[in-house]
């Protein structure tokens, strides 16, 4: 995932800056979702994911109707939610080798709960008795007790910042900023994987991505570039593609997930 990113590093960066319309100060789509989920005023474990999906999509539609540019993160999640909604509404055909809507919904709930848990934990942490605010160390230390390993003092952070700034100072910094208004589908999918977790099972997303990321008149070309981007991801070994017949929906799944799963079980197999 990372190598894909750095390849397009500077360009992506510039683009990100241009696109960031912080949707009312939310820190990313998961934050927005958590906020919307709380408005349901029930335990996160009992929220209606379908209702949450509706809330989110209508929120995005409203923002877009105001002709405000919405950061791509939010659109990618909108695409995923639209897909989730379709899966929740249309009963699963038996024997289909892909995630059920219920499984996808459970993943979403898990992620919302986990984010909320980390937020609460952060709050509890800063509200503890803290050194230098509530509890204090000796104000008049008489000596510095050091493990006598070295009479020199430097931290890894010191070392790394020194190195980074040295290299930065001497690198010729010419940055090309190219203007693009739409994210490439490859970028979108990269983000999607970051945002929604690994797509471990066959997932059809392209049509939804295109709906949310691209203006209607550009959908045909976007779909084409999406397909091209998918092929490239396949070539790089990042995803697998599957299509049952010509013109049928394109399914993709992450390859890294599988290899990581293998790795966790002990042996690393390089493939």
């Amino acid at each position: 995932m990372d190598p894909l990113w750095t390849e397009a590093g500077p360009v992506t960066d510039a683009n990100r800056d241009a696109l960031v319309v912080d949707v009312d100060g939310f820190e990313g789509p998961l934050d927005l979702l958590l906020h919307l989920a709380r408005t349901q005023k029930v335990d996160l474990a009992r929220i209606s994911v379908l209702a949450l999906t509706e809330q989110y999509l209508s929120f995005i539609d409203r923002v877009r109707a105001l002709k405000l540019e919405v950061a791509a993160d939010y659109l990618v999640v909108a695409a995923w939610l639209a897909y989730l909604k379709s899966k929740l509404l249309i009963p699963q055909k038996p024997g289909e080798d892909e995630q059920t809507g219920e499984e996808m919904a459970a993943i979403l709930q898990f992620r919302l709960q986990r984010l909320e848990a980390m937020r609460d934990a952060g709050t509890r942490l800063v509200n503890r008795n803290r050194l230098g605010r509530d509890v204090f160390a000796r104000g008049m230390p008489e000596t510095v007790i050091v493990d006598r390993r070295s009479k020199f003092d430097a931290s890894l952070y010191d070392l790394l910042t020194a190195y980074a700034s040295e290299r930065q100072r001497n690198a010729v910094t010419t940055v090309e900023i190219s203007e693009r208004h739409v994210w490439s589908l490859k970028e979108a999918r990269d983000r999607l994987i970051t945002l929604i977790g690994e797509l471990s099972d066959w997932t059809a997303l392209d049509s939804f991505l295109v709906d949310y990321l691209v203006l209607p008149e550009k959908r045909a070309t976007a779909l084409a570039s999406s397909f091209a981007a998918s092929l490239e991801l396949v070539r790089e070994g990042a995803v697998e593609l599957s299509q049952s017949k010509p013109f049928a929906t394109l399914y993709l799944r992450s390859v890294t997930t599988k290899s990581r799963a293998t790795d966790n079980s002990g042996e690393t197999t390089h493939g």
Partner: protein
């Protein structure tokens, strides 16, 4: 006090100690421990930073029973205006928490952590060792510049090493300074740690039984997707000195 991890730094006195750890009926031994406690007290008191048991061992006489001395000191200072606090494998005197109302005048203005930085800090603290990709997975956003580097700069967060997985990503964890700042003796003391672990919220992937959000009947019982803690887990939780043999 967990004696297990500490025995590694005290080389000689293992055989002198009986089952109860201290043979306090022996007046000579009692005096010896009291004297060691005085010395440990002086050294720890003199320093603003936590003093490691190794540093104490370096300074105190070879035959000093440091764990016993610390135990005694800790008891002596328990109800006082200044307490002896364990921070990882180090010890420090800190003013008692209930007196914070008195101390506010000494408070140095601390940089307020941004919400994002706090979230990243909590994610690192509870999930460590954790990679940047995993932090982003928890938060659903990329970590912007000025978040991780601020935490590294405060010296609450450090790079721990690399994950043994494809790409060998760098892992992050917290420091002794983190424990010291937030008044934690070890990571297991993190607020809500056990409940969060029990609820499966500290895993990078959704636990298989997650869709059943019923509270556990017996929080001590392992859930289906939990493995019993291995030594490596315990090390990570700071319950065991890395490499240290249990006694």
């Amino acid at each position: 006090m967990d004696d297990g991890g500490q025995s590694t730094v005290v080389p000689f006195d293992g055989d002198e100690r009986d089952q109860d750890g201290l043979d306090m009926d022996n007046p000579a031994r009692r005096l010896q421990v009291a004297e060691a406690a005085r010395m440990a007290e002086a050294v720890i008191f003199a320093s603003a930073e936590p003093v490691s048991e190794k540093a104490l061992a370096d300074r105190l006489p070879e035959d000093a029973d440091i764990p016993a001395a610390l135990e005694e000191l800790k008891t002596i200072y328990d109800k006082r205006g200044v307490n002896l606090i364990r921070v990882g494998d180090a010890w420090a005197f800190r003013t008692a928490g209930d007196l914070s109302f008195l101390m506010s005048r000494d408070a140095v203005v601390q940089k307020k952590l941004s919400r994002a930085a706090l979230e990243v800090l909590a994610t690192i603290a509870y999930h460590q060792p954790v990679t940047r990709a995993e932090i982003e997975d928890v938060r659903g956003v990329e970590t912007s510049k000025g978040t991780l580097d601020i935490l590294l700069e405060t010296d609450w967060v450090r790079m721990r090493g690399r994950r043994r997985s494809p790409g060998r990503p760098v892992t992050y964890g917290t420091t002794l300074a983190f424990l010291d700042h937030f008044g934690l003796s070890e990571l297991r003391d993190l607020p809500g740690m056990d409940e969060l672990k029990g609820a499966g919220l500290l895993s990078t992937r959704m636990p298989t039984n997650f869709s059943v959000p019923l509270p556990l009947d017996d929080p001590d019982e392992l859930t289906e997707d939990e493995d019993p803690l291995t030594d490596i887990d315990l090390e990570e939780l700071g319950l065991l000195t890395p490499g240290g043999a249990n006694d």
